[in-house]
Point group: C2
Chain length 146, copies 2
């Protein structure tokens, strides 16, 4: 019934629970699971508001991207250990909900599985954040909120 599950992942406990459900669902249906971690650009606006100027904002983006890639690898390993056969992982930058839904639309995703609250709920939402509501509202395919 599902062939391509997208699991947006930010490393939070809720995202872990969502990932477990993604693994169960994949084993039940034989679907591929794609892990996606989205980070936000360090914008010029943020830079201008900061008390500390960074001489090279690109380095912050690089650090964010590297951190996000580590999170994706962790999630992929969890899925593989859980017995999922077809696992892929991607990092994107931008607005989380929009990036997730664009990815889903472009890659033939037919189920998105998200945690009900991400890191955003605790005020630390620079990766996924509490975007499950936005994802659900924007999505063209079914969304499982865990």
């Amino acid at each position: 019934m599902f062939t391509h599950i997208l699991a947006p992942y930010d490393g939070s406990k809720n995202a872990d629970r969502a990932l477990e459900k993604a693994a169960e669902m994949a084993k039940l249906t034989g679907a591929r699971v794609t892990v996606l971690t989205v980070f936000r650009h360090h914008s010029m606006l943020e830079a201008s508001l900061s008390m500390v100027r960074v001489s090279d904002p690109g380095r912050i983006d690089d650090a964010m991207r590297e951190h996000a890639a580590g999170i994706v690898t962790h999630a992929k390993n969890m899925l593989i250990e859980a017995g999922v056969e077809d696992v892929r992982g991607f990092v994107r930058s931008g607005r989380p909900a929009r990036a997730i839904n664009e990815f889903a639309a472009r890659h033939g995703v037919d189920l998105i599985i998200v945690g009900s609250r991400g890191l955003g709920a605790s005020g630390d939402g620079y990766l996924l954040g509490s975007v499950s509501h936005k994802v659900t509202g924007l999505s063209k395919c079914p969304v499982l909120v865990v």
Copy 2:
């Protein structure tokens, strides 16, 4: 992975799509499917705002309950025709999202499957309405928004 699926149903096209997914998921997992239709009481406030006074508001509730029961029966038949073995149906009155989540908590539901938009989206939401957001926000168990 799921044993008891709750399918809130209001007869809308989106609810039909959600019901189809509920049938697929039930056949995949062997879960029971419970159909739930919620109608709102004809309140005294509404009665006082109406240009037409109803002498016996209880009769309106009776008519609503009967209509809702017909919708539940329709949904149950759809599920049975789709090959689901364990199908039940209930009618409740009250606030849809709250009634759905209370039912889920009391009856060991481990997955709620709702349409992304109910009749409420077209301004005719006296049964389920556009409550998927509220259900998702309040639910203690996973919610699949179709």
